[in-house]
Amino acid sequence: MSAIANDEFAKRMMLLAQPAEQFKPTATYDPDGDCIEFLAKPDAFFAERVDDLVTVYYSQETGEVIGSLIKDVSAFCRDMFERFPGFRIEIQAGRVSLQHIFLARLWTERFARDDLTTLTYRKLIEVSGETPIEGELSCV
């Protein structure tokens, strides 16, 4: 495969671009990174690592939590299946809700109630709502 020229690549991306007004919250599993990326708003964002599972996205405009990256999803699911076989019930047809992943993490780690990590997970649970994950997880 030969590399595409930068201007041609940029043109192709512009053809795929949709205005921010049409944005809907999305969560997408990416098998190349074995990660789930969730975004609740179309704002530009910067990222901060929460722990080895989650990186949280903050809006560049407002500073509020608007998304997250869940890393190493396969290893997390395998670990959960070993420790809590019932977690498998939450996965249907290769899909699991973001809320379940965040909750599972909260329930299995010894975070203090008012720990910043706990508060960040709670915020992510609130923000992620019922957003479905696109793409089938390879760990199930």
Binding site: M1, A3, A44, A47
Partner: protein
């Protein structure tokens, strides 16, 4: 990576600097990832379409080995992070602005040379070209 690369996925190749010898190499990006970025906003489309190639071709630093906390991680050799400060950042409507002060742009590439994630991150206090916490986060610096 979870499994071998999904053969059903389609990819485009971009030019990138090979941090080992300074030559040019290819880094792939999946159409699925491009579509996902495009669906978000004009600004996200421009980050993918303009900033990502620029960082891959003109990085200020490249790290290898995305280290995880207490693990000798499986994302070790071959998983790279390209860092740089692009000429512009983009609002969600696609209008350009100056790069965010005190932030650096990162492009993550897996061991199969696929760019799978990119984003702004706070820069280190002692070097605005490097991400904060780079000493602990990566195994080694290649460039």
């Amino acid at each position: 990576m979870a499994d071998n690369r999904d053969s059903r996925r389609k990819y485009l190749a971009l030019q990138a600097v090979n941090p080992v010898d300074g030559s040019l190499c290819e880094v792939m990006i999946s159409y699925d990832r491009m579509r996902a970025a495009g669906r978000r906003s004009m600004g996200h489309a421009k980050e993918c379409g303009i900033i990502v190639p620029a960082i891959l071709q003109h990085p200020t630093a490249v790290f290898e080995g995305l280290r995880q906390d207490e693990d000798e991680d499986r994302r070790g050799y071959g998983w790279r992070c390209y860092c740089g400060i692009p000429k512009h950042a983009y609002h969600s409507d696609g209008t350009a602005r100056s790069p965010y002060p005190g932030q650096v742009y990162l492009v993550f590439v897996n061991d199969e040379h696929v760019a799978y994630n990119w984003r702004w991150k706070k820069a280190a206090d002692d070097d605005p070209n490097l991400p904060v916490g780079h000493e602990a986060r990566f195994r080694k610096r290649l460039l």
